[in-house]
């Protein structure tokens, strides 16, 4: 499975697709941190960054999975069986982790007025990890194996993200809680709401993964 993951990352890295989400991410974070972040506002900036970058992570995951031609995916399936699914997700996670690291390090180099405390850094890393997982699942669910039409796929990706934002404003449990963590961080109660956010995020990511695995059973 690791060899297949390496093969897919190599294919993605050599294609031009990898630059598209990277450019989107660079534009978003350069805008986010363009005016600088005063001391004490680092956590809300990290929370906003993590939630806003979910489409970039989804785009990267979808691009990575779609770089491989359909027939090559079938060859991979005969080689490693159902581990092919896990391999694709792992490759997407690895690439998205690099994107998330850029998003985390960028403000430390030039956006924050001061280096934030360790707790803030750890929470920022955790929120970006949840965003990476959510983006990877959304990307997988809108990849060509599930949605062969590129037009429907991109509409589903963007529409799914907006649905998460819209539905997420009502309750932490209604959908993936990106909206909740943005709201909580900007109102200073992220620490108290974090356990519910993590549980809700884990449940929604799990449901997304189950959905992807279920759909792929009839969509090789």
């Amino acid at each position: 499975m690791i060899a297949l993951t390496r093969f897919r990352i190599a294919g993605y890295a050599r294609s031009h697709r990898a630059f598209q989400p990277l450019l989107l991410l660079l534009v978003v974070i350069s805008l986010l941190y363009a005016t600088g972040v005063p001391v004490g506002n680092e956590l809300s900036s990290y929370a906003d960054s993590a939630a806003i970058l979910i489409p970039a992570f989804a785009w990267a995951a979808r691009g990575l999975l779609d770089t491989e031609p359909d027939e090559q995916r079938m060859i991979a399936l005969t080689a490693v069986g159902r581990a092919e699914l896990a391999s694709g997700l792992l490759a997407a996670l690895a690439c998205n982790t690099i994107l998330a690291l850029i998003a985390l390090v960028w403000p430390l180099a030039g956006g924050f007025a001061a280096i934030p405390p360790v707790g803030t850094l750890a929470t920022g890393i955790g929120l970006h990890a949840l965003a990476v997982l959510a983006g990877t699942v959304i990307g997988a669910l809108t990849s060509r194996a599930i949605l062969p039409s590129p037009a429907i796929s991109i509409v589903a990706l963007i529409g799914g993200y907006f649905a998460i934002l819209m539905a997420g404003s009502s309750s932490v449990w209604a959908t993936f809680p990106a909206m909740t963590w943005m709201h909580a961080a900007n109102h200073g109660d992220l620490a108290t709401r974090l356990p519910a956010i993590v549980v809700s995020a884990t449940v929604w990511i799990g449901l997304g993964l189950l959905g992807y695995a279920g759909l792929r059973r009839t969509r090789p």
């Binding site: 060899a3 297949l4 390496r6 093969f7 190599a10 294919g11 050599r14 294609s15 491989e68 031609p69 359909d70 027939e71 090559q72 079938m74 060859i75 991979a76 399936l77 005969t78 080689a79 490693v80 069986g81 059973r217 009839t218 090789p220």
Partner: protein, 245 residues
């Protein structure tokens, strides 16, 4: 390996692509699947390979190591032939010496440094066959394996299919060219109207024997070429005639 009561369709309420399929694929057998374009041959091959799940019915006893060569090799990948085959060898957990063996046997050593998108159709097809054969499959699925291949490669594929069957493997191939028909133990099935039926051998015209004299060292290559052309070569030496291996 056994396929029992198989039905398959891609979407609910669509007509069946395959229906009432019952097949016994015994170790050592070579199955040739024929049928009109769009009849469901590739779908049947994908079911046998484990890529498609039956809507109804079961597929049991599939061997663990499956080699699959699709009809169209996906050449739109950013690798050289050597790089691609090295990745596939690693995925298959086989030694890279297998790459040398198969690129040599398929006469594609000169392609190793070329990028996959730059390959001709026949050359790309050879890469597809090489990746399927690297792993020493117990079940080999070949979708139109002879299309676009040169004579030597066609002969090599026919010999390889025979060798896999001889060691107890199963080979299933769709073959419009008929290159497999001269191999022993080839069972032909026709896919038509969603059904898969065994084909009976048609009575042929009278047989004529043609003798060729050549050095012994070249005999097996010529025999392979003749098999690839659909003939049944017989080798004779010192007045003793025996069927070619």
């Amino acid at each position: 390996m056994r396929i029992s009561g198989l039905y398959l369709r891609y979407r609910r309420k669509d007509p069946w692509v395959l229906a009432e399929v019952d097949l016994e694929l015994a170790p050592g057998s070579v199955i040739e699947v024929v049928g009109p374009n769009g009849s469901g041959k590739s779908t049947l091959l994908r079911v046998i390979a484990g890529l498609l799940r039956p809507t109804r019915g079961t597929v049991t006893g599939r061997p663990a190591i499956v080699g699959y060569a699709p009809e169209r090799f996906p050449a739109a990948q950013p690798f050289t032939v050597a790089g691609y085959l090295r990745h596939l060898a690693a995925i298959r957990k086989v030694d890279e010496s297998a790459i040398d063996e198969w690129t040599s046997r398929l006469r594609m050593d000169h392609l190793l440094g070329q990028r996959l998108p730059d390959l001709s159709k026949g050359s790309a097809h050879k890469v597809g066959l090489a990746q399927a054969l690297l792993c020493g499959p117990d079940l080999l699925i070949l979708d139109e394996p002879f299309a676009g291949l040169d004579t030597a490669a066609r002969a090599e594929i026919a010999l390889t299919v025979d060798a896999i069957a001889t060691r107890g493997g199963i080979v299933v191939a769709s073959d419009h060219q008929g290159d497999l028909r001269t191999l022993p133990n080839v069972t032909r099935y026709e896919v038509r109207d969603s059904r898969v039926r065994p084909m009976t051998t048609q009575a042929s015209e009278p047989i004529l024997n043609v003798s060729v004299r050549l050095p012994l060292s070249r005999a097996s290559l010529l025999a392979a070429h003749l098999r690839a052309e659909g003939h049944e070569p017989l080798l004779s030496q010192d007045e003793t005639v025996e069927a070619a291996e």
